[in-house]
Amino acid sequence: MIRIGLLSAAHLHIDSYAAQLRSLPQVALTGLWDDDAERRTRKAAEYGCPAFESVEAVLDRCDAVVICSENVHHPTLTAQAARAGRTILCEKPLATTPENARTMVDLCAEAGVSLYTAFPCRFSAAFQQLIKMVRHGDLGEILAVRGTNHGQCPFGWFVDPALSGGGAVMDHTVHVTDLLRVLLGSECASVFCEADSGLLHGDFDDTGFLTLNFENGVFATLDASWSRPKTFPTWGDVTLGVVGTKGFIELDMFRQQTMVYDDRRGTATYGGWGSDIDAGLIRAFIESVETGVPHSEIASGTDGLRAVEVVAAAYRSADTHRPEAVLRA
């Protein structure tokens, strides 16, 4: 039996991870800690697992942890779990600064603990087929990519930079950056970013248009904006338009959906029916815990770090209005 502890349920993705974990017969959720007592009790009841008032109590009873706290708490929780020798799956972004992400990676390496970053988009069937086609040479040489990761604003702590580390650029840069690194097999060298707050008028960026220049010469843009309104039929999107010397591939990751018109709720929403990307992520994570061998398909801590370095360069560029080099932490 693989015993999994949950460290904070602050990030909404925890619901899906918990559901995937509970669906696996060899997995038991052995404890949930959250610094918010109300949420701790509510979520523990929802997931059918015991709640604990201390992180240590959860770490004492598990083989591995899933960290879904507010972004700024990732480093502390990771350090605690690493010291306890637990395998870690940490929600994205890995940290709010490259320095903190670097510390997390180093601590886990010293402790001999596997640290993974929750980048479930790698487990999209469409993305995996795209990778296959690109590696097979179907597009010839890849030249440019147009990416989006739009979303509705998640509000709550996500719009409190003291807890989130930033706004839309912090929240939505890392997924597509990670996909681009996998797709191109190259690191992002510099970033230009225009960011602003014209959608929600808050003290955080809600709009972010990034241009990423990769070391291999490929350029890409990434729209990280929270530009889907409350009435939008779904949470957002992940899309890639890949341009090669032989043609184009458009990926729209969550397009496998029905349109659902609900008179009683007064809503018209998309109902997704595609393969669940979180299922792939969680299965791979559990496999790595079972075998004790680092898993090659899941994003590592270093992959998470590389994406955080791009976020930092994007914020610098938004301030200087110039392209900024991605600095390695």
């Binding site: 030249l143 440019a144 230009f192 225009e194 014209g198 959608l199 248009f209 843009t221 904006s225 341009v243």
Partner: protein, 336 residues
Amino acid sequence: MENVSSPLRLGIVGAGHIGARHALHASRLPDTVVAAVADPHLEKADAIARPLGAVSYASADALLATEVDAVIVAVPTHLHRTLSEQALAAGKHVLCEKPLALTTEDCDALIEAAERANRTLAVGQVLRFFPEYEHARRRMESGAIGHPAAIRLRRAGRYPETPWFADESQSGGLLLDLLIHEFDFLRWCFGPVTRVFARTLSERRLPRLDYALVTVRHANGVLAHVEGVWGEPGGTHTAFEIAGDAGLLTHDSHLTETLRTATWREDGTGKVVFSAPLMPTDDPYYRQLAAFVDRIRRNEPPSVSAQDARQAVAIARAARESARTGQPVSPEGENV
């Protein structure tokens, strides 16, 4: 301006693809006749002129010497300035195809020439007459999505088939020839542009492909992303989304086709064609010409001013400069 003749007599300079399109729509306009068509390839001018009962000429000079009131300049872009100047000097009103010219200096020379001649200089920024774009602007102006903030525009088409089109020194290339539509639309909707950042494949000089990704910042804080493609299989595709602080407006031409025609070929393979027809009087080219003629008759400034067209050129030039230098560029003349 003195009154124009009735019916208004139009001349078309340039009998290529776009000249033929103008001729077709001009022939449907009330109280307007296509009187003359000129092209160095006389047979091409003839092919357009004859069915309309117009006279064909092998030179623009010959056409400009006739009693036409207005001229449509539909020649390759690097010739826009010379021919439009000639037409204005000959006392003709001018509708010049987009982009107005390859450089802002040439645009300025044309604006001055029109003032000197006291004639209308309108520019064929036809996107303003496309119903989906006009609709979007109208809905936005009426407050449907609140204050706009984050814009995305896409335009993709086949690689240019005529050599001058693919030649950047003659057409201006992807940024100046194709994305000029988007740049003009952005300015029309959101006002002056303070900063442009662009990456393109133009400098790679690929045989059948050009591609551009452009980020635009407006003086009012609106941010826009523009994607342009020359060489996408599957024909023209346009899409836009306008996100505001109270909503989102989206369009995708792949989702607005009203006819899907699926037929079998002799060899047993299938063919699917999508189309989205409009009534003739709603066609953007018809509406553009109708507005041009109407403004001349009323002695009013054109609906797309040469100054606006110049600023669209300035944005495209800034994008080109940004792609060349890797740095953001402020468009010339957009001081706000």
